[in-house]
């Protein structure tokens, strides 16, 4: 099998305006931040984001790349609601279609299993099923590839098998592009994740194009000595990019811990439009590329974040925050 290793610029060029996208990781954990900075540089437009927000989604919103968001969680965790998401949605400038966390899981599970839908009670009783809050059609109108989104948000039906009463049929969740940031990938695309897999192990099978950014590209044969320890098969991966510190300012288990001052600074500055623009100039546009971003951060700052075995993060007893 040929090598799938490309540059970050090349990989991101494959993303089209209007694509429906999914990012691996969650909140501050293993998110493809470097890849998203490159998307901002390349000024992708009218994207539909599926899944969760946090820094990657928030950057796209602030930079005007995102048209709609369909997901279950738009928080930067301990650092507050994703600030651009908050500002844009409260101004009425972003289409949001809320689904449940289990919905997201089951939708990706269905796609991973090649099934059009699955039955659950996951949102019965809640406003997730409220027709007045159903923005799926609006998101669909924006999508370049409309067939990727289902015709309707859900359907109720009586369970014919176990007398469970009314259940909700929930459709598969599919994407044009999935970008995951992982610890290690082989040059053919086999990838190994440490810590929470979040949705990555399902999502890579739910997208037409899969980009893996990895802290390290390692020999494919090395990963194939213990295929039980790999989470992503090469057959579902289209491009591999080596991006050390590609999840900064978040954490990448066994590699580095989160950069709390950076995250706090982001939250504070992005509370206003001007603040975000300044931040983006400083950390995305002025640095030109990920190498520039790393150099601006500085080696000693990064070294302080480096994970300590066996914990996989920086324990507070060792100077972590």
């Amino acid at each position: 099998m040929q090598s799938k290793v490309v540059s970050l610029q090349e990989a991101i060029q494959e993303i089209q305006h209007g694509d429906t996208i999914f990012f691996g990781g969650i909140v501050e954990n293993r998110r493809p931040v470097a890849a998203v900075c490159e998307m901002v540089r390349q000024q992708k437009r009218n994207l539909v984001l599926l899944g969760t927000c946090s820094i990657p989604g928030d950057l796209l919103i602030g930079a005007g790349c995102l048209g709609a968001y369909r997901g279950c969680y738009s928080s930067n965790g301990a650092f507050g609601i994703s600030p651009n998401m908050k500002r844009w949605s409260e101004a009425g400038n972003l289409i949001i279609d809320d689904i449940g966390h289990l919905d997201l899981s089951l939708g990706l599970l269905a796609t991973m299993a090649g099934c059009p839908f699955i039955a659950t009670k996951s949102c019965l009783g809640t406003d997730v099923l409220n027709p007045a809050y159903d923005n799926l059609d609006k998101a669909r109108e924006l999508a370049r590839n409309q067939d990727i989104l289902p015709r309707k948000k859900y359907q109720l039906m009586e369970d014919p098998f176990f007398d469970m009463g009314t259940v909700q049929l929930f459709p598969a969740i599919k994407a044009d592009v999935c970008i995951c940031h992982v610890q290690q990938a082989g040059e053919q695309g086999t990838a190994r994740i440490d810590g929470s897999l979040t949705f990555d192990h399902f999502a890579v099978h739910a997208a037409r194009k899969v980009i893996i950014t990895a802290e390290q590209v390692v020999p494919e044969e090395y990963l194939r000595q213990d295929p039980n320890r790999n989470q992503i098969p090469c057959t579902s991966v289209d491009m591999v990019v080596e991006v050390p510190w590609g999840g900064h300012p978040g954490q990448v288990y066994n590699f580095y811990d989160m950069d709390i001052p950076f995250l706090q600074d982001y939250a504070a500055r992005c509370a206003t439009e001007e603040g975000f623009q300044q931040w983006a100039d400083e950390w995305i546009f002025d640095v030109k590329d990920h190498e520039g971003y790393l150099d601006k951060l500085g080696a000693s700052r990064l070294e302080r974040l480096r994970a300590i075995p066996p914990y996989g993060y920086v324990p507070r007893s060792k100077g972590g925050m």
Binding site: N29, E90, N130, L156, Q251, Y253
Partner: protein, 268 residues
């Protein structure tokens, strides 16, 4: 023995909330809980150390029987991985709920109403232009639908403890039946469980067996019924309220020195 007890003022209202929540979790020693992000995580850590060492913790980012060596900054923090029995992803983290393995769910939120419904999606009356956009559903929907019972933790403020939530994220006792959205008892939808308690910064609220409406079960030391009513957005039944036992010095010490020495959660 006097110095065994801390007096109001020697701890913050947030610390009181976390401490009494930890005590409430005594009910769940040996049980399986799915713990939401934020202060529930802190209260759970305190409870495991002091009151229920055999509580089994699931986290929705895919850890089973989590035993984090130090306080995670959120439920997505990879501090939860090391020491857990199994580390998968979010789907596997949630499936114990839908499989009916979870004895209790423990969450925060932005609004709670008199039926124990919780809102963590948006505040306002226009979904497409909210007064305040919140984090969204996350596990809060699923915990409310599937767990055998739930406990909610929230600062007690008039704008938070309301007649009816702006958006029903976590189903409490009276929920919406679609497609019409009629308010019905949760069991009518085949949902088991329902909330057992709302632990606030002022007291512990429970729900009437008949009406399923919230009432005050306990007031924290130094909190009056009037103050609690004043901080509540609807007329709440305070007739059954009694005062809790005092906070222990050891509880405050544990929280400040061992659980969150860096005050990451800004409890003080």
């Amino acid at each position: 023995m006097a110095d065994r007890y801390a007096q109001p003022g020697e701890y913050t209202p947030t610390e009181a909330m976390v401490i009494y929540a930890a005590r409430f979790l005594k009910n769940f020693d040996g049980k399986k809980g799915l713990i939401g992000t934020g202060l529930p995580l802190v209260a759970t850590q305190l409870a495991k150390k002091l009151y229920c060492p055999n509580m089994i913790i699931f986290v929705e980012t895919g850890q089973y029987d989590a035993n984090p060596p130090e306080l995670p900054i959120s439920i997505m923090d990879s501090r939860i991985t090391y020491g857990s029995s199994w580390q998968m992803g979010d789907p596997e983290g949630l499936f114990p709920l839908s499989r009916d393995e979870i004895d209790f769910g423990f969450i925060g939120g932005a609004q709670i109403d008199k039926y124990g419904n919780v809102n963590s999606t948006f505040v306002g009356d226009d979904y497409n232009k909210p007064f305040k956009r919140l984090a969204g559903t996350a596990g809060a929907v699923d915990i409310g639908v599937f767990a055998r019972t739930t406990v909610t933790l929230m600062a007690h403020q008039k704008r938070r403890v309301v007649e009816m939530v702006d958006y029903l994220t976590t189903p409490g006792w009276m929920v919406k039946k679609w497609p019409e959205g009629d308010l019905v008892r949760r069991e009518e939808l085949g949902l088991q469980g329902g909330p057992s308690a709302f632990v606030s910064t002022l007291g512990i609220m429970q729900f009437d067996d008949e009406t399923k409406e919230m009432y005050v079960d306990k007031l924290f030391p130094g909190v009056s019924s009037a103050e609690l009513q004043e901080s509540t957005g609807f007329a709440i039944d305070v007739s059954r309220a009694t005062e809790t036992d005092l906070v222990l010095v050891e509880e405050v010490r544990m929280l400040r020195e061992e659980i969150d020495p860096l005050n990451i959660y800004r409890m003080r």
